[in-house]
């Protein structure tokens, strides 16, 4: 067992003839928090989706916890169940109530008993502070609450690593805080995390490293300190100046 949780090695991907990802290489160590940022359309979402094989890629290698994702023989559903993922639009299942959202995959994928799954689900729900809402349906919750349930849902699976794709960008400003708080706690407890976000406050607070992407390339891959104080590329400088204006 190496200390590298995610290894991305010279990964390239095309949509038809459009080259979305170009020779990307990076890694996320166990317990590390890596923030990915960059302008819209630069390939951040695509990259993070490649990590748990939600998107196939044509070239390069990718390992999670030493399991080769690029290998056709790999049991992808099993691998994915060990990687938590949180989406921009929450993607809770609207026809299931909160408890059912939390337990479905535990039962169907991990084969846990109902009681076991429920216990675990309620524990995670408590962790994001929403125990009181356990019988509600997603449509009855605010955006911030939905996103916290989505995080709890991912945590129920006892993931080795958590992926976040702009978890706060679909939220009204007053709800961003409650979601970031949960994520900061997670990071502090030692969860390995790869987070696409423009919340530089979050990056400053808990990131170990920051990756900056532009036009499908990883342009910058630096420690948080280096990235904010001495970005190397012009594009990153430009991007930072725009983002930090707010």
């Amino acid at each position: 067992m190496s200390d590298k949780m995610i290894v991305i090695d010279d990964l390239s991907k095309w949509y038809g003839s459009f080259n979305v990802l170009k020779h990307c290489s990076t890694h996320v160590d166990r317990g590390e928090v890596v923030v990915v940022c960059g302008p819209s359309g630069s390939g951040k979402s695509t990259l993070i989706k490649c990590v748990n094989a939600l998107e196939p890629f044509q070239e390069g290698k990718l390992f999670i916890n030493d399991v080769p994702v690029h290998d056709p023989k790999t049991n992808l559903p099993k691998l994915r169940s060990q990687v938590g993922m949180v989406f921009q639009h929450f993607e809770l299942f609207p026809h299931l109530n909160v408890t059912e959202n939390l337990t479905l995959a535990q039962i169907k994928v991990l084969g846990r008993s109902k009681d076991e799954a429920l216990a675990r689900g309620l524990k995670m729900l408590d962790r994001v502070g929403l125990t009181a809402h356990k019988d509600k349906f997603p449509g009855q919750l605010s955006g911030g609450q939905q996103q916290r349930v989505a995080i709890a849902r991912a945590l129920c699976m006892d993931p080795h690593v958590m992926l976040f794709d702009e978890p706060t960008s679909a939220l009204d400003p007053e709800m961003v805080g409650e979601v970031l708080d949960v994520m900061v706690d997670l990071a502090k407890e030692g969860m390995t995390m790869m987070v696409v976000t423009h919340e530089m406050g979050f990056a400053r607070k808990v990131a170990n490293r920051v990756i900056f992407m532009d036009q499908g390339e990883i342009v910058e891959d630096a420690t948080k300190e280096d990235f904010f104080t001495q970005p190397k590329s012009d594009r990153a400088i430009q991007f930072l100046s725009k983002i930090l204006q707010h």
């Binding site: 939600l54 691998l79 989505a150 699976m157």
Partner: protein, 249 residues
């Protein structure tokens, strides 16, 4: 108007000897409902399967599904019934054909098959657009949690799609009921056929068709009412179908 109304005719014996003309019409209604129900079971199962296949990434399956839908919806139902009733038995080996033809209630089975396949193409189209109208993220989220494609459809996509599809499914079911009347051309004694034979036996055209019309209207109201109840029973608080999730996004 040069027409002699005679509502009393409804209570007179029909020459079939199985009761009054009214009972004859009611037996037509029951054939209508039985045929429609059986055809619907076929249409719904097949339509669901084919609709799902058309949303899968497999190119070959999709092509086959598309071809199926195009084939069954671009030939008039009446012609399709003729193909099943008159043509197919001639194309299969002789003894099998003869067996099909001598089957009791052959027109019932033919109607169920022909109507079922015809409607299945329309159901498949609804299922496909229903699944595709779901936010892509739902499928991604399910996949990301380790659910297999089958599980994703079984537990996530179909339960949502079916809820969203209930109103269009109601009208497709009503269409199935109405379309059974086309099967009178292959001898199915459903409601319209019964009204027609009542007219032929008794010459009271308007009484016969008025009662049939009323029976269709009542059927329609009852089905609509039941489906509303079903809609309410399976509705999810805070979830108004696709439109609601579209607002969130």
């Amino acid at each position: 108007m040069n027409y002699k109304w005679n509502w009393g005719i409804l209570l007179e014996m029909s020459p079939e000897g199985q009761g009054s003309y009214l009972q004859m019409l009611l037996s037509g209604l029951s054939w209508t409902l039985i045929t429609a129900a059986c055809a619907w079971v076929l249409a719904f199962t097949l339509g669901l399967a084919i609709g799902v296949v058309r949303t899968l990434p497999n190119r070959f399956g999709r092509l086959l599904g598309d071809a199926y839908v195009e084939l069954f919806r671009n030939i008039p139902l009446l012609v399709q019934l003729f193909l099943w009733y008159f043509v197919i038995p001639e194309l299969v080996p002789r003894h099998l054909g003869d067996m099909i033809k001598q089957m009791p209630n052959a027109s019932f089975y033919t109607a169920v098959l022909g109507l079922g396949l015809f409607m299945s193409a329309r159901v498949a189209e609804q299922v496909r657009s229903g699944v595709l109208s779901l936010p892509k993220g739902q499928k991604l989220a399910a996949t990301a949690m380790g659910l297999t494609t089958a599980q994703t459809y079984r537990y996530i996509l179909l339960p949502i799609t079916l809820r969203v599809m209930l109103p269009p499914m109601t009208s497709e079911f009503l269409n199935t009921i109405k379309n059974t009347s086309v099967a009178l051309t292959i001898g199915l004694m459903e409601l319209t056929a019964r009204a027609r034979s009542m007219q032929e036996f008794s010459f009271q055209v308007f009484e016969a068709f008025t009662v049939a019309t009323v029976l269709y209207l009542v059927t329609n109201l009852v089905v609509t009412f039941l489906m509303r109840k079903l809609e309410r029973a399976v509705s999810v608080p805070g979830f108004l179908g696709v439109s609601a999730s579209a607002v969130v996004h």
